[in-house]
Symmetry: D2
Subunit: 133 residues, 4 copies
């Protein structure tokens, strides 16, 4: 079964003088994929932030940087839940080139927190059920 | 009289595959200089945002991009108030290379707004007085 | 006739503590639209950079920032050539919200340059013809 | 013995709608510190890239995100070599708030590569000696 994924085009803004995607930008790509994955599960992050004052934050990230992505590349960025706990998730994420070679692979721990004081909030039962479905 | 200025080092994050600073990043440098200039005038933007829910936003920017800045360059970024109105300012800003050549020159209109609805807020008399001093 | 346009989703990376898109990021969105517009005209920027060592750079930008874009907004970013010269172009670009309200409107001068020394290069006759078509 | 460190101010560009530093931006801060550390060891990255076509790239990063940094915070970003091999390094890096609390702690593997094909290049004996000193 293919994990959830989005496509991301590499633009000038993403590259550095080495001619390749700047390393921190893979974390932006990972976040775009997580946001679309949450949207696909019915999560409205804008409303969560505005109404409840909560949001998801990355607690830990382990990233391997492999093949370099370059301008105009059309990347596939995936999200696969690996572990779901009461107040956090572990996700497996990958960025791949069009020929399937991996650019970056990550294991990312995401927690739900209250923006005001960054205190952890339990995931709703509904969301937990949808993620585990 | 030399205008207010800060120094900004060019890092990998700022460059693109052309080997030069990516054009949007000059706007980040301009904002850093405006923030330090506001701090030098006694403005606490963190408190303004957290307590009053207001902040400065750019309403219009006219920018000329000239000499290219490159990795490791130590840039000088200046701010000079050109016009102070009830609810906005016009600022002249420049980014210069170490040899004095201009990289970017801008005329920037900044307004004070309430974040919630982006409604303009009048500048305090105290701030207006300090800017005009 | 509707001008060339792309859609851009607003992610966490694009916002600032005001809850809105950080002003410099509209210039990233403008560049994404320009890159897709060039691609639609048959221009391969990756090959231009790697083989010929040339690329397009922004020489001047005049931007009005209007309605604020927020997380999850799906923006439409357009490109319309306004003037085509031997070695540069003037483009009209806009970012609009889903309800059609403009977030940012810009007039942008783009030149073709050699990356090594940033010297201007004439646009190819073929490209000039395609843009003017 | 205090490890090498620099200070980094948090600006609007670094924050997201949660009011805190966006997670990928800590990797930009880590890179700024690595670049200044390399400069302090006599490494000229601009010349390396322009003349030799080589540069340092991150191969793996393990990052724990802890206390959130906010606008105006003056962060201390450190670099401490943990392991020096023929063609790569492991570095320990931290970002701390002014009161000493850690915002982010990372273990980062950096390799020297040729930009053209991303092939690894051995570190010069001179650099290896300086890092180990």
């Amino acid at each position: 079964m293919s994990p959830f994924h989005i496509q991301v085009r590499v633009y000038y803004e993403d590259t550095d003088l080495g001619g390749v995607v700047y390393y921190a930008n893979y974390l932006r790509f990972f976040e775009r994929a997580r946001s679309e994955w949450l949207r696909s599960l019915g999560v409205n992050q804008q409303r969560m932030a505005a109404v409840q004052g909560v949001g998801f934050v990355v607690v830990r990230a382990e990233i391997d940087f492999r093949a370099a992505a370059r301008l105009d590349d059309l990347l596939t960025v995936s999200v696969k839940p690996a572990e779901v706990k009461r107040a956090y998730l572990w996700l497996d994420q990958e960025v791949r080139l069009e020929d399937g070679r991996p650019c970056a692979a990550a294991r990312i721990q995401v927690a739900c927190v209250r923006h005001k004081d960054m205190k952890p909030q339990p995931l709703s039962e509904e969301l937990t059920a949808r993620i585990s479905a």
